[in-house]
Symmetry: C2
Subunit: 194 residues, 2 copies
DNA sequence: GGAACTGTACCGATCGGTCGGTATAGTACG
DNA sequence: CGTACTATACCGACCGATCGGTACAGTTCC
């Protein structure tokens, strides 16, 4: 039992992880508290001892992982070469999706299920993340490396990366490194001049 | 009242349309029958006179529009030039998303909410649609026009197009024609050799 | 009359969340 | 040592509200 002295945090982390998987598999509103109870093998009271509400659970998941993505993106902003910056952003994004697929699925797909103020907050983080990409595109355009900035190109490139949360399989034959390399190469093609 | 003699079909079509919009906005499980009633201004009994169940409603939406997409795709298969075929597929896809955004949002995002057998059926339609693209990619590769077939490239291209259901705005400044033209050009770049 | 359409009252089941209470471990005090 | 007290983790019964769906009577139109 000595390993369980930190029960509080580890239990909560475990609950959040299981919830993320359930929400990703079947959708936030489709998963009831009873199902979550059963999945974590805890009684009603025990579960609510660790979480405040179902909505808070969703909020924590949706917020934390887009925030992490932003943190990673900030480090990429130090790279002066827009082409390299795109590659770093792409590699981070794909590796995050590969290693936290359930959480990012919730993050991308269940924002709408948050209460108004929380949704606004999380959406702001999404916007901020997108802006990092946008800045890289504009930067490259100004340096004459990329085609002039075009929002459709931005959406297209981001769509390519983001959409991977739906088909990527962590145990599949395609590793995250392979995927990000090919996506990065394609992104640079989309941005090239002429 | 004379214009309402075809109430049966028109009412049902109206209900399906409103349901699609609600499901797209807030998610299938988040929308209750009461909310749907209120939106179509019909009592419980009247509503259930036109639909069999909530699940059937989802099934009809999710099935019909991916089936339509497949029908459109079949006509594109007659085009021998893989490059042109890609452009036709892309143009059809984007124009469908633009004109039936709510329905296709449901179609893409709520497949998981269907019962097992129905989900399998709808997923088969998705697979079939993806195969049309795949065939075009392979065709182009065989003719020496595209790079060798790579599933990652396929997923990347499809992601670019599909993801647009999340950000496209029918009343926005970007018309469907503009978007599909630029996406098509990018898709061909992604597929080009070297 | 009869078929189509509609509203209301109602069903059992399940929803998210709270309740009082228990078991256990740690700690302070005599 | 034993006893009193506190905090944490947990359980299962229970809450009002809402869920999807049904029964049925009334109305309208041919």
């Amino acid at each position: 039992m000595s390993a369980d002295t930190k029960d509080d945090r580890s239990q909560r982390a475990r609950i959040v992880k299981v919830a993320a998987r359930l929400f990703a598999e079947r959708g936030y509103h489709a998963v009831g508290i009873a199902e979550l109870q059963n999945a974590v093998q805890l009684g009603r009271g025990a579960l609510y001892h660790h979480i405040r509400s179902k909505d808070d659970l969703l909020y924590d998941i949706a917020r934390e992982y887009i925030a992490d993505l932003n943190d990673l993106a900030v480090t990429a902003e130090h790279e002066p070469d827009p082409r390299k910056r795109i590659c770093i952003l792409g590699q981070h994004l794909i590796s995050m999706i590969a290693s936290h697929q359930a959480e990012l699925t919730v993050c991308f797909r269940e924002v709408q299920s948050l209460t108004d103020s929380r949704r606004a907050e999380v959406l702001a983080l999404h916007t901020r993340y997108e802006r990092v990409w946008k800045d890289a595109f504009i930067s490259g355009a100004e340096q004459g490396l990329f085609r002039p900035y075009d929002p459709v190109v931005l959406k297209g490139v981001l769509g390519m990366y983001f959409y991977s949360y739906l088909w990527m399989r962590p145990d599949g034959s395609l590793g995250a490194e392979t995927i990000s390399e090919r996506f990065n190469e394609m992104a640079l093609r989309m941005l090239a001049i002429g």
